[in-house]
Symmetry: C2
Subunit: 345 residues, 2 copies
């Protein structure tokens, strides 16, 4: 499970909590803070929990930074973290900072809830469909952006993507990583989700397998479609199957939720993700937030099987267009391309 | 405050939680794990909270260790942490491990409690006395132990202490750091403590000042006695007032609680610390634990004043004897010297 659930001594309540910390992977400290916060909260959202009672922030300041760098970078990172927490309707009270060779940012999210507040991720049934709420490819996008300055790396991929597109893909990845999975968590209840997990370090196939293993019923997950940030599949191919993106092994940071939904509910789930706020207070970010709703995709089916997961031989790659620069996202513009048609092949 | 207290949406309950992580400071990985756990829990104990609903363990494995070193060191550290959590009547469910240049160990302690479970650290009154539940000097002891192998450092202190005494002081410091402040937390309720904090990185005077500043009443804390691990005061003097131990600025790791108690209760508090287990389940450690009860000392008084704290000009140094090696502590032996007389000068 993505979070631990501790039964309490008080009337049927449970303490649900999760922690995560990692190293910066984007250059913008403010966005890094938002991403770290979204990433911690995502473990709660994967269980359909929409509220968080408290967050702790865990930081280590690099000893290699001079005082000026510290004073510029760390407050921005902390502000990003706090802003995302506020967007999530919670706050950061507590935490710790140490000095370390590397910068680390992370946190702890805790909530005390009733059994009806969370959805145990173990009740998928044959006939369900799999929905994914963010596109894949964040690792490829972040790395490609670094390769702009490394000629031997850049030469391998420059035939399939322009510098400008790399910048756009990187912005798109940042926006996606900084987006809270909170709307998806709320809609899990509305549309009777049977199980969910969030996609992070093990890639979509790793997390799909973990989720499959936890199921009570004899099920298997089969993934037909891979929604991927535009051009990242091409980069992966050009680089010789870079990170295994098309095999689903490329790690994601603060990825989407992978949700098992009753087939008849899935299309409406995706439509509401795209259109609505489901009444969550504070779900609109000031910047780097959810924009005008998030795309979600039906990517596969739940069959009868022995608790495993696989991607079909030739999955359909859904090229997810860039929504534009951070600036235009802040101005509230929407995707400038029409959404790709979504169907099971 | 040592922990954050978050009011919950459920009938008068609060979520109290704290986090702490740091770098290893003793060579024994198992003891380091115990110390890290005791150190995290200490923030709850400082608020008179005796139960913990869940702990998360935060670890970073050093990239400089080879695989064999990792496989030897990290499981021991984790076992120490888990054993101490078990001694505290809680368990470790969740956490995260990353790779880092340096080893980091720490954790998060969370509990959901009723208002009567915790004592807000703000109600000291003139006439109270200050009690300390562990001796000072852990930083000096740990450093002196490292200096056994650094001739230029060792030469400065070898006139006042033998190598064997350094070893004993180091063992004593380890045992103290690994001791839970749980008994003290329970006795805070029994003897109507008015406020408390735990002594860590800012030294006794730093934490005394922090505590004084939080008081509702016009009080000042005056410290008369400094209980210090035997010979550590001499080392500090020989080293040219090393770490400011006698000024109270030497940092402590997983130090004792500093408690404001009604004067008439303090002696009984100390007596019960020494003699009893106050019925806490699991309060007896298998090793490195509380031994046969802990010494506590009346170290000062609460006067009328402007929320400050000070140590008198010539504080009485209480030399706290070594209880013997870890082995003899495991065998249940007690202090081999009679406890020092404790009185306010």
């Amino acid at each position: 499970m993505d979070s631990c659930v501790i039964p309490l001594r008080h009337g049927g309540l449970s303490l649900v909590q999760t922690t995560d910390f990692f190293y910066p992977l984007v250059e913008d400290p403010y966005m890094m803070g938002r991403i770290a916060c979204a990433n911690v909260l995502s473990d709660l959202y994967a269980m359909g929990i929409t509220e968080c009672d408290n967050m702790l922030m865990l930081l280590s300041v690099s000893q290699k930074m001079n005082e000026k760098e510290r004073d510029q970078v760390m407050p921005l990172m902390m502000r990003g973290f706090r802003d995302a927490a506020e967007e999530a309707g919670t706050s950061v009270t507590g935490g710790q900072t140490v000095i370390n060779p590397w910068i680390i940012i992370g946190g702890v999210a805790s909530v005390v809830c009733q059994p009806s507040d969370f959805i145990m991720p173990d009740s998928a049934v044959p006939g369900d469909v799999l929905v994914l709420t963010k596109p894949l490819g964040t690792q490829v996008a972040v790395n490609a952006h670094q390769w702009l300055d490394i000629p031997e790396k850049w030469n391998k991929i420059k035939l399939v993507i322009s510098r400008e597109e790399v910048e756009q893909a990187y912005q798109e990845a940042m926006l996606n990583m900084a987006t809270l999975n909170r709307t998806a968590a709320a809609l899990m209840h509305k549309f009777n989700a049977h199980a969910a997990t969030d996609i992070t370090g093990f890639g979509i196939i790793g997390h799909a397998r973990n989720l499959a293993q936890q199921q009570k019923n004899d099920v298997a997950f089969v993934i037909h479609n891979l929604p991927i940030i535009s051009k990242m599949a091409a980069i992966s191919k050009a680089g010789g199957n870079l990170f295994g993106l098309l095999q689903g092994t490329s790690s994601e940071t603060s990825g989407g939720l992978l949700i098992c939904l009753p087939r008849e509910q899935a299309a409406r789930f995706c439509a509401e993700m795209k259109s609505s706020r489901v009444g969550l207070s504070g779900a609109v970010g000031q910047d780097g937030g959810a924009g005008d709703g998030q795309q979600a995709w039906i990517i596969g089916i739940v069959e009868k099987g022995n608790r495993c997961a696989r991607i079909i031989d030739k999955p359909r790659i859904i090229e997810v267009p860039y929504r534009g620069s951070v600036v235009s996202a802040q101005e509230g513009s929407n995707n400038n391309a029409s959404p790709p048609e979504v169907q099971l092949t």
